[in-house]
Subunit: 258 residues, 2 copies
């Protein structure tokens, strides 16, 4: 099994409300179609310019208090707009005869402290056994402490990796991989060992951009956890062939090994 | 807590593809708004002319075999069309400031023999505690025997009633309640005791119309189970005031008591 993360900035332009890169997602689906059904896939996508603006407007990360009436409405609206984005991805996959199936993150996972505290993966497991391609997404979530929170696609992947033990996790980004410095400025890191991640995080802290669910530093923190269970790749999702390369193991990008 | 079932034939014209009775659902939302937040609600709606035609076209009730490739596509498409219907309902509730929140049935429940075999209701419970109004729907589902199946709104309600112990379950239909004979022909039953249901089912068998998830006879079978845990009402969802009557306890329709 391979888990593929479609980064929000790959499928969408974060600065243009409800923008969707149909050509990019279509290309990604084509590459997956080259390996399915021999290989099993689980897809997780980010919020891009769909979920983030609403989550921010309603300040969902703060929890249900204060203004619970407004928070509840914002919580529901954010989920609906994520379903709207999710549907576009499902449709493109179905067009290529890939049986992508939407799984609503918020119906399954409960968070605590920004991570998944609990989530039953029985349905997702059975879907994969039946040769479906479950498609999850960054979403709102019930939270044990704050009542509500936002759950990032990256956090979902960390949890799924522990539960499903994929042989590979591929993060599709809008840059070529992890850089030793600012993306495009520092040099691309081809191979990273788990024990090197902490010092890299220290060097990068403050240099990366931010979004509601955290930027590259958070991604590296997740990668460190994930790499205990699976090989991890960071590749450019906007360039044809990069995902295939990561799947085949001779890809252009950053590979993290345990 | 009150569980309200919006029957497929109440919210939609089953004979007109993708028809949606916006005025009816808006009226239902207004009536619920009179009792929320003092009263907790869980909503379950049927497929109407959204889910049923696709489920039939792809013969989903038969399971994943034969033609698993086609079945998988149909399974995903049926879920997407149910999300489309669900969104219309969520939107109308949000317009009335009711914090309806979409819960994807297929992400949570696994079926066996047409009933829910398994389904974790933690998220639904927490949503209600936080004063959300979870909105579930008849949907496709992973099945333990057949791989896939269709799960009716009525079956979901039976399961939720056992797990959540609501004080009342109200089924909104397009007729005035349960009739002793064909709807509109036989006489309306005002009160039905659980022990009388079996003989009524015998008399009605064959008289009612059918849909993919069963008609009135199936509904009565569910009602018999549900009535062990909760008061049950069958009222006309297309007529203003009937839902309110059932909620207040002096309604026009059929009441089933344990």
């Amino acid at each position: 099994m391979i888990i593929v993360k479609l980064g929000g900035s790959v499928i969408s332009d974060k600065n243009v409300e409800k923008s969707f890169h149909e050509d990019v997602v279509s290309q990604i689906a084509s590459e997956i179609a080259q390996f399915y059904p021999k290989e099993d896939f689980v897809i997780v996508h980010g919020g891009g310019s769909y979920g983030h603006p609403l989550a921010k407007e309603y300040n969902l990360r703060e929890g249900i208090e204060p203004n619970p009436d407004s928070k509840r409405i914002g919580f529901s609206k954010t989920h609906q707009v994520m379903l709207e984005l999710n549907e576009k991805i499902i449709d493109l996959f179905l067009e290529k005869n890939l049986p992508a199936f939407s799984v609503s993150t918020s119906s399954v996972f409960i968070t605590e402290g920004g991570s998944v505290a609990y989530g039953d993966v029985k349905v997702i497991k059975r879907l994969v056994e039946l040769k479906f391609i479950p498609v999850l997404f960054g979403d709102v979530a019930i939270d044990l402490e704050k009542g509500i929170d936002v759950l990032s696609g990256d956090q979902i992947i960390t949890y799924l990796t522990k539960m499903l033990k994929p042989r590979k996790v591929v993060f599709l980004m809008d840059v070529d991989g992890i850089y030793d410095g600012k993306p495009g400025e520092g040099s691309l890191i081809w191979e990273l060992k788990v024990r090197e991640i902490d010092s890299l995080i220290e060097r990068l802290s403050g240099a990366a951009g931010t979004d509601v669910t955290g930027g590259i530093v958070n991604k590296l923190r997740e990668a460190k956890e994930i790499a205990q269970f699976s090989e991890v790749w960071f590749v450019n999702g906007k360039i044809a062939g990069r995902l295939s390369g990561a799947i085949m193991g001779d890809g252009f990008g950053t590979r993290i090994k345990g």
